[in-house]
Symmetry: C2
Subunit: 335 residues, 2 copies
């Protein structure tokens, strides 16, 4: 395929703002390192909805989530002195594990700030991938300030979870692979936390499937991006209560908000009950373990939150990291 270079005057190109070209370069860096995850279909889902659904299974990605793509893409572009000094990230979730593994593979030391009360399993997984854990008290300490402090004191490079050109470009490779495998789509549904995944995916769609409506799905309890888009400015919300722990963000970032405003058709929401129903559908009908956040896009499809009849619909399944005991507790809830 032949893509146009972005039209821009001499000063118009903002170096922090990713383009589809960055996702293409990311794909080259990730080749043979990240999994090219399978796209699966479900005759049952198609029959239920009268549509053709294509599920891009990032729950089968390394570390169990798309986050590996962005983390690896970002770390691999650091200059040698930065690589030697190492990187720092704050996350109690999939970004932490992704940074730890990517650092390990690239021989870059990683420091992960995690709350004192982070689940032991997640701490263990992150340490298992080779990350150095630094804990903080989430009730009395500001993790962002702490991260900046560590970065300055020890010369570490901070890799933020979503608001970063190389992170966004890396995440975009998920949609790039999807379009390459199944062709153009009418609709692409993408889970939205801070907006890193959907920003990258929207960049890919804008070039590979320009008429595709890219639609973001947030938890109803935590619709900071929906509110921001509707107000036309970044809205900050309280940390939402939702089982979609990967989407408990307070606000989109400046970069992700800009891309979402330009390239995303709409942001819709689903509630926790709908997430559980989708999680059970994945397990019982599709034999896939998907974490609640990973069910956001699928829940919107299965609940027919938007009209899809006769359409070709991509569904980003963003991750599968849910503790088995937690999964079974949720799956045991009445319908």
């Amino acid at each position: 395929m032949n893509h146009q270079a972005p039209r821009s005057g001499p000063a118009a190109r903002d170096a922090t703002m990713p383009t589809y070209r960055d996702a293409e370069s990311a794909a080259a860096r990730l080749a043979g390192v990240a999994h090219r995850t399978p796209v699966v279909t479900s005759a049952t889902a198609d029959r239920l909805l009268g549509a053709s659904l294509f599920f891009k299974c990032e729950n089968l990605q390394r570390v169990g989530a798309f986050k590996f793509r962005g983390a690896y893409n970002a770390i691999s572009q650091l200059a040698p002195p930065q690589r030697r000094a190492g990187v720092v990230a704050f996350s109690s979730g999939n970004h932490a594990q992704a940074i730890a593994l990517a650092g390990n593979l690239l021989s870059v030391p990683t420091t992960i700030l995690m709350p004192l009360d982070a689940p032991a399993q997640k701490v263990e997984a992150t340490r298992g991938y080779g990350g150095r854990i630094v804990t903080y008290d989430r009730y009395t300490q500001d993790r962002e300030a702490l991260g900046r402090e560590l970065a300055e004191e020890q010369g570490l490079t901070l890799i933020p979870p979503f608001n970063h050109r190389d992170v966004i470009a890396g995440q975009g490779t998920a949609a790039k692979e999807l379009f390459e495998e199944v062709g153009e789509l009418d609709i692409l549904l993408v889970p939205v936390g801070g907006g890193g995944l959907i920003s990258g995916c929207a960049l890919a769609a804008s070039v590979l499937s320009p008429s595709c409506a890219v639609i973001g799905v947030e938890p109803a309890a935590g619709n900071d991006v929906q509110q921001s888009v509707s107000r036309g400015e970044i809205v900050r919300i309280e940390t939402p209560r939702t089982i979609a722990d990967g989407a408990q963000t307070n606000a989109p970032g400046a970069i992700t908000f800009d891309i979402i405003r330009r390239l995303v058709r709409e942001i819709i929401t689903v509630d926790d009950r709908q997430l559980v129903a989708a999680m059970k559908f994945f397990a019982s009908r599709m034999k896939l373990l998907v974490e609640p956040t990973g069910c956001l896009a699928a829940a919107a499809a299965l609940e027919q939150v938007l009209p899809m009849r006769g359409r070709r619909v991509g569904v980003l399944v963003s991750g599968g990291n849910v503790d088995l005991a937690r999964f079974c507790a949720l799956a045991g809830q009445a319908d």
Copy 2:
């Protein structure tokens, strides 16, 4: 690739005995109908075992198991009068659903004999795929006799679950796809119930990866095939008690036993505790829901029942049809 025709004198070709050619024809019939299931890898499993494992995910096949391949291949070859009259099968498990769906897709009426006490969910699933259910009392009635009776009375064609040329040829397409995707392997581990899957896979291996050791894995409590191979004749055992409900067979069939004797290197066993450990590994590390029978081959790998260091090992994951409540009850067991 160029394959030799089987060497055989004028009368040596037994029409009931499948060859790799039959699996090739089956693949053509299944193209666009069966899923070409993904092959997934796990860096964690590879590191644990010091080997390269390739998991062929038939839990992601239609109806949740490889059985769809053989059922569709068999029904699609019936002559028009047989197709009009319909087919009959006895099974309380994946073969029933596979026959019902394949019949539905081919507009062939299907009758499934199921025990009166079959789980409601399985009865519903089979009916949902379009099968007519006929129940029998498993304590007082002989399902094979009943099946033959129905077949004679109503002119139905009986499609047995494993001991049948076209069923075996269909199952072989799973291994054919695996070798086509990842190339030759040193070892191929395959779950064994009645031997239909491993027979087809061994035919594929004999042509596509001739030096590959094809190894069957049975539940320790139900090692009818292992005993048969070691005695050199078909051994019949009592219905075994094991959580691997798809491998609760009493004996291999004449055809599967013949192929296994010729082409399978060895039959090994794992116990129920090892199956549960593998099931949990699949769910927590690989985000895949796999039924206990589907874990047979993976359990043998993860428990290092045989030496694998440095080898390229294919692992057939045969199915994912386990009720969620049952899955959670098993996953909740102590390690």
